[in-house]
Symmetry: C2
Subunit: 218 residues, 2 copies
């Protein structure tokens, strides 16, 4: 048991170091040597968990969608909003999420196929959109997956724009602007009136960051 916990902690440390390096250098220029220089694990331990750079990138991609938890909400549309606002809230300080975005947008030498971060996020957020639809929160013409793909598509460019314009300082405001524009076309009027999309929403809805990875490693 103690051994298993140690393995989980080691795996998480490696992924954290890998995320920092992918965020800083991009996939092609990242090296396992650089990752090892930042993490207190042996080369053998790293290769035991992740046999290649590609495995490390796939690990980071899988980890980032489990990376933060927000409070459950009776409104699944609010929960969907909350995840995006919480991601925006932690992004300036969080290499794991920034690495995911960088791996999503850079056409490096590896095609991540079904592990592409855009598809991984669509799965997570799409499930909430489907639930919102079933609960009658969405307007009748809304296709939950089509809308989810649009939201996921908007995210990398919003963070890039925020990076260029303000060093990520205004990314929460920009995600809030996205929702203000989209929600009137998505939510039923009674749901729309109750949704919180203010820039401070991410901090209020966030429960934890960086703790889910352990469970996912089992």
């Amino acid at each position: 048991m103690a051994q298993q916990e140690r393995a989980i902690r080691t795996r998480r440390m490696i992924l954290q170091g890998a995320a920092e390096v992918f965020d800083e250098f991009g996939y092609d220029a990242a090296s396992i040597k650089e990752i090892l220089s930042r993490v207190e694990v042996t080369k053998g331990a790293l290769y035991f968990h992740f046999p290649s750079k590609e495995a490390l990138a796939r690990g980071v991609i899988q980890e980032q969608t489990l990376h933060l938890r927000v409070a459950e909400n009776a409104s699944k549309l609010q929960e969907l909003v909350d995840i995006t606002m919480a991601v925006a809230h932690v992004l300036p300080e969080d290499a794991m999420l920034r690495a995911g975005i960088r791996l999503a947008v850079e056409r490096g030498s590896v095609d991540f196929g079904d592990s592409n971060p855009l598809l991984a996020w669509t799965e997570v957020l799409g499930a909430l959109a489907e639930q919102a639809k079933q609960q009658g929160e969405l307007l009748p013409q809304v296709d939950p997956m089509e809308t989810t793909e649009l939201i996921v598509s908007s995210f990398p460019g919003i963070t890039l724009y925020s990076q260029v314009a303000a060093g990520l300082a205004d990314v929460e405001r920009r995600v809030s602007v996205l929702w203000q524009h989209l929600l009137p076309s998505i939510a039923t009027p009674s749901v729309l009136a109750r949704l919180d999309t203010a820039p401070g929403r991410g901090a209020r809805a966030l429960l934890s960051v960086g703790e889910a990875g352990g469970e996912s490693a089992e």
Copy 2:
């Protein structure tokens, strides 16, 4: 005069070759040698027009916003829609526009600063949004620049998602979906009822591709 025309043609050929190489390799891996291997110009001619790889990238960024022309429209909001739909229409066959997107999203070793493609497109599309606002086409609460930045932000991710999901085959549909979601929050009801955002709109509105660069070179 003939000499000036020749210079413009040469400049355009170089930018086309550079766009192909930036699109294929990204900024960091692109080389002037590779560009020269695709364009029938001498090394001296290339360096006369563009003294460095960075100058070539800035040339491509500047060129892409002038790269296509759409029909003028009494509705400036329709004209804004038309530019985005025309970009989506030509994108699968157009290295210049794809290169602009790739230079926008990849954090290479150079910071393009004010020449960043996101900012360049915001200037072009923002002018139309401001005109639309002045003409009373936009709802009172709409901030034309905020909305323009959101549209520009959405674009790279939409093309990335289309690339991953369908090799760019559905990018027109995805831009159409963006407009269907945004326009009810942007346009006054009477304007909204008349706007054409169908996936075929880009082909209908497009006047020319790749001809504006000549004038911009003077």
